[in-house]
C-alpha cells in the first residue's frame, strides 16, 4: 500500500516539475508516469535490500532506457521525459544537509554529506550515461 502512495506522490511530483519546465501539454501525464515508475522501482529495490546508491543507479538507468523508448515512440526530445524521470533522485536533501551542517559548524558531518551529494549526482550521471552510450540504432526502430 505504501508503495502505491509513493508511486502517486512521485507521479504528481514529477508532473508538477514538468509543468514548471513547460513540457508540452500532451506529454505531461507521460512525464509523471516516468517519475512515478522510476521512484517506485527505487523504493522496491531498497525494500528488497539493495544498497540505496546502487538502487538509484539501476532506477536512473531504467528511467533513461524508458525515456529513450518514449522519445522515439512519441517523437519528442528525450529531455522532456528524462528530466521528470530523474528528478526524484536529484540530491536536494544532500544540498540541504551539507548547508545545514556547514552553518552549524559541524565540519565533519558537512563534508560527509557533501561527498554523499556528489556521489549521488555521480550515480545519476553514470546511470544516464550508460544508457545514452548505447547505439542509437537500438531505439531507431520507428522510422
Amino acid at each position: 500500500m505504501s508503495v502505491v502512495i509513493q508511486f502517486f506522490m512521485a507521479f504528481f511530483g514529477a508532473l508538477g516539475f514538468s509543468i514548471v519546465f513547460n513540457a508540452p501539454r500532451g506529454e505531461l501525464l507521460v512525464c509523471g508516469l516516468a517519475g512515478g515508475a522510476g521512484w517506485t522501482l527505487y523504493i522496491l529495490l531498497v525494500q528488497v535490500g539493495v544498497p540505496s546508491f546502487f538502487s538509484a543507479f539501476i532506477a536512473t538507468a531504467a528511467v533513461t532506457l524508458a525515456s529513450r523508448t518514449l522519445a522515439n515512440l512519441r517523437r519528442m526530445p528525450l529531455t522532456v521525459f528524462l528530466v521528470s524521470g530523474i528528478i526524484p533522485f536529484v540530491p536536494g536533501a544532500g544540498i540541504y544537509y551539507t548547508m545545514y551542517y556547514t552553518i552549524t559548524g559541524d565540519t565533519a558531518a558537512a563534508s560527509l554529506k557533501g561527498i554523499e551529494t556528489f556521489k549521488m549526482a555521480g550515480v545519476i550521471g553514470v546511470g544516464i550515461m550508460l544508457v545514452l552510450a548505447l547505439p542509437g540504432e537500438f531505439f531507431a526502430w520507428r522510422k
Binding site: 502512495i5 509513493q6 506522490m9 512521485a10 504528481f12 511530483g13 508532473l15 508538477g16 516539475f17 514538468s18 509543468i19 514548471v20 519546465f21 513547460n22 513540457a23 508540452p24 501539454r25 506529454e27 521512484w39 517523437r75 519528442m76 526530445p77 528525450l78 529531455t79 522532456v80 528524462l82 528530466v83 530523474i86 528528478i87 526524484p88 536529484v90 536536494g92 536533501a93 544540498i95 540541504y96 544537509y97 551539507t98 548547508m99 545545514y100 556547514t102 552553518i103 552549524t104 549526482a121 545519476i124 550521471g125 544516464i128 550515461m129 545514452l132 552510450a133
Partner: protein, 272 residues
C-alpha cells in the same frame, strides 16, 4: 550556383533560396532551442539539418553562450553568422516545437518563409499560466516532502510554501531577475516560511528538515544537470563543463539563501 528547392505540395513551383536566408533560419531555430534549454547536440544537429537541406557546405557550432554558423554561398564566398545567447528561460515545449518544425522543413513540407513565420510563433509561445505554475510547485513540494518521509501536516505546510515559491519565481522571472538571485531569494523564502510554520504549528516541528528539502525540490537544477551529462556523453565537453558549473551555482545559491535565513534565525534564538 543557386540551390533549387522544390515545394512538395506544389512540385511545379521551384524556389531558390539564398545561403544567407537558410542560415538565418538555422540560427533562429538554434537560438530558440538553446535559450529554451535544449542540449548542445540537438541544437547543432537541428542547425546542420536545416543548412544541409539547401546549402553546399555548412557547419554549425553551438555553445550554451553562443551560436556560430558558416557556409559557402552561391559565389563561393563564405557567409558566417554569429549569435550570442544571453537570456535563458527553460521551456521544453519550445524545444519540442522547433524539433517538429525542423523535421517538417527538412522533409520539404514547409517552405522557408513559412518556416520563418512558424519560428516567430514558436518564439512567442507562452508559458503555462502563472496560477498553474504556482499550483504545480505547491503540489511538487508537498509530494516530495511526503516522499522524503514527512507526515501529512508537513505536506500541507510544504504545499503552502511551494505556492509562495511559485509566486516568487513567476514574479521575479517576469521581472527578468538573474537566476542566482531568484534561487537565493527562493531559498530564503523557503527557510523563512518553514521557520514561521514551525513556530506556529508544533506538529510540523519534527519534520523541519523534510519540509525544507521537499520545498526546495522545484528549484533544484535537474534540467541543467541532465543536459550537462548529455553534453559530456556527446563529446561537447565545453558545453558540459559550463552547464555543470551552472547547475552547481544554482545548488549553491539555493543553499546560500536557506543558510542565511537559518543562521540569522539561530542568532536571534529561533533555533530548531
Amino acid at each position: 550556383m543557386l540551390y533549387p528547392r522544390t515545394n512538395n505540395r506544389n512540385p511545379e513551383q521551384v524556389i531558390t533560396l539564398s545561403t544567407k536566408q537558410v542560415m538565418q533560419l538555422a540560427v533562429l531555430a538554434g537560438q530558440i532551442m538553446m535559450e529554451s534549454g535544449a542540449e548542445t547536440y540537438r541544437v547543432e544537429d537541428t542547425m546542420k539539418r536545416i543548412m544541409n537541406a539547401s546549402t553546399r557546405s555548412g557547419e554549425p557550432f553551438a555553445l550554451p553562450t553562443g551560436l556560430f554558423a558558416s557556409a559557402e554561398d552561391e559565389t563561393g564566398q563564405v557567409v558566417t553568422l554569429v549569435y550570442r545567447i544571453k537570456k535563458r528561460s527553460l521551456h521544453l515545449g519550445k524545444v519540442a516545437a522547433v524539433n517538429d518544425l525542423s523535421r517538417a522543413y527538412v522533409k520539404g513540407r514547409l517552405t522557408l518563409p513559412e518556416a520563418m513565420e512558424r519560428l516567430a510563433v514558436i518564439e512567442a509561445m507562452p508559458r503555462y499560466p502563472d496560477a498553474i505554475i504556482m499550483a504545480a510547485m505547491a503540489v511538487t513540494s508537498a509530494c516530495f516532502t511526503y516522499m522524503f518521509g514527512g507526515a501529512a501536516v508537513s505536506c500541507a505546510v510544504s504545499f503552502l510554501i511551494g505556492g509562495a515559491l511559485g509566486l516568487h519565481v513567476t514574479f521575479s522571472q517576469g521581472k527578468g531577475l538573474a537566476d542566482v538571485l531568484v534561487n537565493i531569494g527562493g531559498g530564503a523564502i523557503i527557510a523563512l516560511l518553514t521557520l514561521g510554520a514551525c513556530l506556529v504549528c508544533a506538529g510540523a516541528r519534527p519534520f523541519f528538515d523534510k519540509i525544507i528539502i521537499g520545498s526546495l525540490m522545484p528549484l533544484v537544477p535537474g534540467l541543467k544537470f541532465t543536459n550537462a551529462v548529455r553534453d559530456v556523453i556527446e563529446g561537447d565537453f565545453l558545453s558540459g563543463a559550463s552547464r555543470l558549473m551552472d547547475a552547481l551555482l544554482d545548488a549553491a545559491a539555493i543553499a546560500a539563501g536557506i543558510g542565511a535565513v537559518l543562521s540569522l534565525g539561530a542568532y536571534w534564538g529561533f533555533s530548531l
